[in-house]
Symmetry: C2
Subunit: 221 residues, 2 copies
């Protein structure tokens, strides 16, 4: 059984300030925090499950799974042998910096190199709140359609990396990969775009490498 933490809605009005303080603390504690966002069902948990084996020998990893209900994602991640905790957001569709801090304290990050926050499945609210993470990643999966950057521009604008997941089913969907890349780069010229399939493993090693290198930069510099 994984631990389930009911996090409380934050009382701080200035979330950006709280997020900045949290990043300072993470820097001191030498912990890299990744905020992973996407729609429900785009494959966040499956991607993490496939990514962890590439990193867990070298880095001490913890995962915080945020959901409205259930603990199934944290249970899935715990099976990879790393520390996982389930956060329940009390119905909230996002986490802010103070909610993230509550999760980190329960996870005891002082001993961890890399913590991944799997945010609530949602393309709107999570993009509006700085969680205090060092980097933001997002997943768009092929079945969701190539129009998503047009409809939900904010998340694509604030992400450092976009994983385009489920490319193993590209041929069964009308999804124009080149059009997506163009639309996303239009919004965010500095974003790194990586097509992956969490199911077949395609692209996961490259993504894990990016995560390893960003973590090392943060904890060693």
């Amino acid at each position: 059984m994984v631990r389930i933490l009911e996090i409380k809605e934050s009382v701080f009005e200035d979330n950006n300030r709280q997020a900045g303080l949290l990043r300072e603390r993470l820097k001191k504690e030498k912990t890299f925090l990744l905020n992973l966002m996407s729609s429900p069902g785009s494959g966040k948990t499956t991607t993490l499950k496939e990514t962890i084996p590439y990193l867990k020998e070298e880095l001490k990893i913890g995962v915080m799974e945020a959901d409205i209900d259930s603990a199934i994602d944290a249970e899935t991640i715990a099976k990879t042998g790393i520390t996982a905790i389930q956060l329940h957001t009390g119905g909230m569709c996002h986490l802010d910096a103070d909610m993230t801090r509550q999760g980190l304290e329960a996870l005891e990050t002082k001993n961890l190199d890399l913590v991944i926050l799997e945010n609530v499945g949602n393309l709107v609210c999570p993009a509006e709140f700085d969680t205090g993470a060092v980097k933001n990643a997002m997943i768009l999966s092929v079945p969701e359609g190539d129009d998503k950057p047009l409809k939900y521009p904010l998340m694509f604008s604030i992400a450092d990396v976009l994983l385009i997941n489920k490319i193993d089913v590209l041929k069964y969907f009308d999804f124009d990969l080149e059009a997506v890349k163009e639309r996303v780069l239009n919004l965010n010229p500095h974003i790194k775009i990586m097509p992956i399939s969490a199911k077949t493993g395609e692209g996961i090693e490259e993504w894990a490498q990016w995560l390893r290198s960003e973590t090392k930069k943060w904890i060693e510099e």
Copy 2:
């Protein structure tokens, strides 16, 4: 070009009361309002595009497409020959009853039998606000996974109909249709569950029939 309406955040504290008033008004004006909810990319617009031809000879139909940005969904719907309007929610991830009223007034519903509100793509917030609709429908698509009723129970609990879309790709995904039905019926024993494929047209006629019959019940009784 379709009309784009920037709707304003509601000032009413008591959304349930506003929703009740809106339903009373719709009853008087003999207009049926359906609230259609789902994750981003589960196929709301495509499903509507395929449903409208079954109904448009018999019913006067209008569609309100709610999104954070772009007008592509309203443009897609307008091509079916019915009235469509794009609502921009000013970054909000849901519509409440007063925001819905603003859209309805712009659409001039007095002459319409059936209005469909395509809510913002999101499994969390839209379920928390009564829009004033007569019925709530939601779509879950096969690629999103069969665990969604466990993680987002509220929307499944308040929906009158669940369309399980993209069943044409069932064999490429680990999606247990029977498990989903059981999980959903556990939450909501009165929900009607219809597997469909907006791409191949499977199941759309039955769904259109349900919508026709509910509309007639509302406007004729």
